[in-house]
């Protein structure tokens, strides 16, 4: 009998996907199913947290943005 699992499909670049897999590897509490290079299914209640963690990761690797300039 087939099963239906509630979740959120995430489509992204392979590079982003590898970061997601890496975030998940700590506790294995995000990913339900790793579909292919550019897609994973993630638990619905974890999407926000995942987005935030992803932002944090990316921030570490981004040059500081120049937001100065007089208002």
């Amino acid at each position: 009998m087939p099963r239906a699992i509630r979740g959120v499909l995430i489509e992204c670049d392979p590079s982003i996907k590898s970061i997601i897999v890496n975030i998940d590897s700590v506790n294995h509490d995000f990913i339900i199913e790793d579909l292919d290079e550019e897609r994973v299914v993630v638990k619905e209640n974890m999407v926000q947290l995942l987005k935030q963690k992803l932002e944090d990761r990316l921030k570490e690797n981004l040059p500081p943005v120049d937001e100065s300039g007089s208002e």
């Binding site: 087939p2 239906a4 699992i5 979740g7 995430i10 292919d36 299914v41």
Partner: protein, 492 residues
């Protein structure tokens, strides 16, 4: 299931059980309203053709009505009709072909609505009293617009830009409702702030806004058992209101007591007007009578921005039945400089709210606001679901006359190319993943099982992704697939 109140009439109806629909369809006005508002044209055609058929017809006969290339459309129509409990289709079996027929309640009510007859009073009872002469169409329109603008201004003013001369504001009950529906929410500092849902709400056309508010109201009352109001009855009362005639007085005494108890809230929303000295009559306003007109469903926030852009491009003021809420959209008011600074010569609360979606506004003058586009502000807009192209075309459509003049003189594009490119780059940087919530289907026993189910979900338009090799697919809805699997199992 999620506890978020549904802001979409179709979603709300989809969640109701079949028994509720049976009750709803007892009223001819409700059956008619659902027919009018909720069905795509092809589904309407099916219903009209089947309405006076004495016997069920086979699905094969129905296939003959539809060109083979429109099969997908047909399947979608049928799936909507089933979802709204308008048709029933017999289970597939070996002995008999599948048959389709209209649900008897719906059929009877729609026939009554179209051909007349019966004493159901479901289209309202006109009041026999004399109508006060001062109550005419312009009066009712003014009244409804005032009430509705109060609501919109309350939502907008929570952005932090106080609208000019906000004296009264909406009734306390309405405010509570907006907070309960999380269109605005209480911030830690005690003030009120607009939410993403609030922005979506703001950018909808008036008709959709009214529905959003009404559905919130039904939800709140439905959760509150002590209110003594039955959401099903309320919904069918709303559909009845929608069938009334603008400018006519209707008799309050012909209503049941529960419905009479709803009237004060409807007055607060501006859907009806009750004269001070004649409490036994009520007038539906344009907000009420247009509830079921137009097939226009709710807009998402990004469609809202597109609509605002288009209305400026065509410089037509077609903003719903009440000519928009938050003030007129004026074309040609925004100046944007190469250093990302932005100035808008406007007083329209709505336009300021739209600008605040993607720009950081930091100064407000009586007839102008000034701000800046920044990485953070564009990122916020993208989180709201707005795309870079929408922002750019909004800016282009609203560009100030001076921008056009300079551009023509120097033979350059209207918007500074650096800004346009940077907005696009910011979007690329931010748009890292696309999310779709739904269901992953897996563990199929054999290939045929998988292929049939995947094909079915593709036909009804819910399939998002499939991998035939792994026998898995992802769909954004599961109810009908579940039914499909069940009937398959039974047929085996």
């Amino acid at each position: 299931m999620s506890n978020n109140p549904s802001l979409h009439l179709a979603e709300y109806l989809e969640r109701l059980p079949g028994t509720t629909f049976k009750k709803l369809y007892q009223q001819p006005s409700t059956a008619f309203a659902i027919f009018r508002r909720m069905l795509p044209h092809l589904a309407k055609t099916f219903v009209m053709r089947m309405l006076f058929m004495p016997h069920p017809m086979t699905l094969n006969d129905l296939d003959v009505w539809v060109k083979p290339e429109a099969k997908r459309k047909k399947d979608q129509s049928l799936s909507i009709l089933r979802g709204l409990h308008i048709v029933q289709i017999s289970a597939p079996s070996k002995e008999k072909p599948q048959e389709i027929q209209l649900m008897s309640n719906f059929k009877r009510s729609l026939r009554l609505a179209l051909t007349g007859g019966g004493n159901h009073n479901s289209f309202g009872v006109p009041s026999s009293l004399l109508i006060p002469p001062e109550i005419d169409l312009p009066f009712l329109d003014r009244y409804a617009r005032k009430k509705w603008e109060d609501v919109l201004h309350f939502v907008v003013s929570s952005v932090g830009y106080k609208s000019v001369g906000d004296g009264s504001g909406p009734n306390k009950g309405v405010k509570e409702l907006l907070i309960a529906g999380r269109l605005v929410d209480r911030r830690p500092n005690g003030g009120l702030g607009i939410t993403q849902a609030g922005f979506t709400f703001l950018l909808q056309e008036a008709n959709a806004q009214v529905w959003t508010l009404l559905l919130l109201w039904l939800d709140v009352l439905g959760n509150n058992k002590g209110s003594g109001l039955d959401p099903v009855d309320m919904l069918s009362f709303l559909f009845m209101l929608a069938s009334l005639e603008l400018g006519r007085a209707y008799d309050t005494n012909a209503l049941t007591e529960e419905r009479r108890n709803m009237l004060p809230s409807l007055v607060d929303f501006g859907l009806i007007y009750i004269p001070q000295h004649k409490r036994s009559m009520f007038f539906p306003t344009r907000l009420a009578t247009t509830l079921t007109s137009g097939g226009n469903s709710l807009r998402t926030i990004s469609e809202g921005v597109t609509a605002a852009t288009q209305s400026a491009q065509t410089s037509q003021q077609s903003l719903g039945p009440l000519g928009g809420g938050g003030g007129e959209q004026q074309a040609g008011s925004v100046v944007i400089e190469t250093n990302y600074r932005l100035y808008a010569y406007t007083q329209s609360a709505l336009q300021i709210a739209v600008l605040a979606l993607f720009a950081k506004l930091n100064m407000r003058f009586p007839d102008m606001v000034a701000g800046r586009l920044s990485r953070a502000s564009i990122r916020q807009a993208i989180n709201f679901g707005i795309t870079a192209d929408q922002i750019i075309s909004y800016l282009a459509a609203h560009a100030h006359e001076q921008m056009h003049r300079t551009a023509a003189l120097t033979n350059k594009p209207v918007l500074p190319p650096t800004v346009v490119d940077q907005i696009r780059l910011w979007q690329l940087e931010n748009e890292r993943m696309k999310t779709t919530s739904g269901f992953l289907f897996r563990d199929f026993t054999d290939d045929k099982d998988y292929l049939d189910t995947a094909r079915f979900s593709e036909e009804i338009g819910v399939l998002v992704w499939r991998n035939d090799h792994a026998r898995m697919f992802f769909a954004n809805k599961h109810e009908q697939i579940k039914d499909f699997l069940k009937t398959r199992k039974r047929a085996e």
